[in-house]
Amino acid sequence: MNSVRELAALGDVDPRVAAAAQQTALGRTVRSTTLWVAVALLAIILLFGALSDGVFLRADNISDMAVNSVIAVILAVGATFILGAGLLDLSIGSSLLLCSIVSAKVTTALAGSAEEVAAGVYPNLALGIAGGVAAGIACGALLGAVNGLIVTRLKLNSFIVTLATMGIFNGIALIVTNGVNVPNVPQQLQTDFAGSKLAGIPLPVFLAAIVAAAMWFVLTKTRFGMRTLAIGSSEEAARRANVPVDRHIVSLFVLMGVLAGIAGIVDLARFGTTNLEGHQTDALAAFAATVIGGTSLFGGRASVGGAVLGALIPVVLATGLVILDVVSFYQLVVVGVILILAVWLDQLRRSRFN
């Protein structure tokens, strides 16, 4: 038995494996995509700070950027789970929109009579908002379940399914609103939630931080997170290990839907109205942020922290360019280049061991 031990320990080990074994914690950190994204983001922030004579780094600007990132962060964190499981969900922008509409309609319906609401008077404001929040979240769960059930029951590719439901949900959003944004949403949503701060930090930013921290915890510490990555790494292996793969996939889409619903409520609260034209590229932006943050395009490896950083990059770039009086459209170009770099790095890492 000893001979085997030595064989396995010394002679028979692939040199790359031996190198991996000797790899220090520091070495592993240096190779982590998340770290590099953090470094890149910090460099961008410092560069803008220097070029703008510090205007960029002022507390109010930082706070604005944080608020502007909230929706992207919430969606990217959800996308991390979906992509980690080797799935895609292109419908999240449409889900967000439809849920913000449902939330707005329920809020205005419960907050007072039609005449009262039209006059901006909300006798049952608390009930309206509570109902609207619950409806927005329930809407997200339902739309997610629809995606998940179609993918698992009909055994269809999630890319195609959610490409279809992206159109379907968007169509329903336009049908139920007749193409007109829902009017008379209580302003208190803006003033008391989106615009208010706790300890100097805007409430929506708190919400995004809590969502991100909770999802990081779930991904790294729980069975749910481990099985998510197992499915992404090898669905067949997960099935053979008796992991209830289909049920898990439905749960992932429901989770993603709930996060889209929450993002929809935040969107409603920030702008005081629904935004029928504003969410066409949300899904692509969320998955781009996720991939930039180090989640593998093929599933199996995922980073919530990286996704958060990846979601911040476009906002930071756009804000910085505006402050520097440069057309902010350059942001689109830069993010595209970063995305290609991130995917290329992921591919290099995979091919090294395959």
Partner: protein, 263 residues
């Protein structure tokens, strides 16, 4: 009252005997098994050899629950046992190491060993599915150590391991959960000589733990020296089962390829 048993002790094998009796299996017109009978003893390495198409894989699948026999009986410890699914087989303590590994390459060795049977922390941690990583790591390291396998780290993705090490991790997984038998269909088919040596030693260590190990292999010379007994299959039947000490490579090859049994 019995004293509480530790989880490590709980997975230790007890001596179970399995008998596959007169198993037949047809796939449409093809008769893959035509009445195969095989006795499997606890603590032995039983090699199953035969020409391509002899029915080895199908017989192993009947044992692991991947194939439901057309007729015949599986008897465990004298009682008839229905094995209609992989879950049935696993409930009887029979675990399979698949030819194509069936591992999640991005997950670590410890995660692969525990996938589907994760250990959770107690109390509220159990309800939210909190992984007991420390305990899982300890058990995975112990299991690999018991099999005499050393890998760089149980926390690194198995993608980074050599083929033999990955196979050893797959075997460790089966050994960890099996209480009756570990079934392997050509576990070394894709491996080089040194990697194969790791796997063979792992197989011996598995049997030494009291489990029956049933191995399908084409590596006749090595398997004859590794196994305690050798079952030779031909045309969907087990032609004969030989004690490895009372036979040799030539005889096994001759029987495999069509000679009549003389003893």
């Amino acid at each position: 009252m019995r004293p509480p048993v530790s989880t490590a002790e709980r997975s230790t094998a007890r001596a179970h005997a399995i008998e596959l009796r007169d198993i037949t299996k047809s796939f449409g017109h093809i008769q893959a098994l035509r009445g195969a009978t095989l006795q499997i003893r606890a603590g032995e390495v039983l090699a199953v050899v035969g020409d391509n198409g002899a029915g080895k894989s199908t017989l192993m699948k009947a044992l692991s629950g991947n194939v439901v026999p057309t007729s015949g009986e599986i008897v465990i410890d004298g009682a008839s046992a229905e094995i209609a699914s992989v879950a049935d087989a696993q409930r009887r303590g029979i675990f399979t190491v698949y030819q194509d590994l069936a591992q999640a390459p991005d997950l670590s060795a410890l995660e692969n060993v525990f996938l589907g049977r994760e250990q959770l922390l107690g109390g509220i941690g159990r309800r939210i599915g909190l992984l007991a990583r420390g305990e899982m790591r300890r058990r995975a390291e112990q299991a690999l150590d018991d099999l005499g396998v050393t890998i760089p780290s149980v926390s690194r993705p198995v993608r980074d391991l050599s083929g033999g090490q990955r196979q050893a991790v797959a075997i460790a997984r089966a050994v960890m959960w099996a209480t009756t038998a570990v079934v392997m269909d050509e576990p070394t088919a894709a491996l080089g000589a040194r990697q194969t040596a790791i796997v063979y030693d792992t197989i011996k260590a598995t049997a030494a733990r009291g489990l029956a190990v049933v191995v399908v292999s084409h590596d006749i010379p090595n398997i004859v020296s590794l196994a305690d007994r050798i079952a030779i299959m031909r045309h969907g039947r087990v032609l004969v089962t030989l004690e490895s000490e009372k036979t040799n490579v030539d005889e096994v090859l001759r029987l495999m390829l069509g000679a009549e049994v003389t003893q």
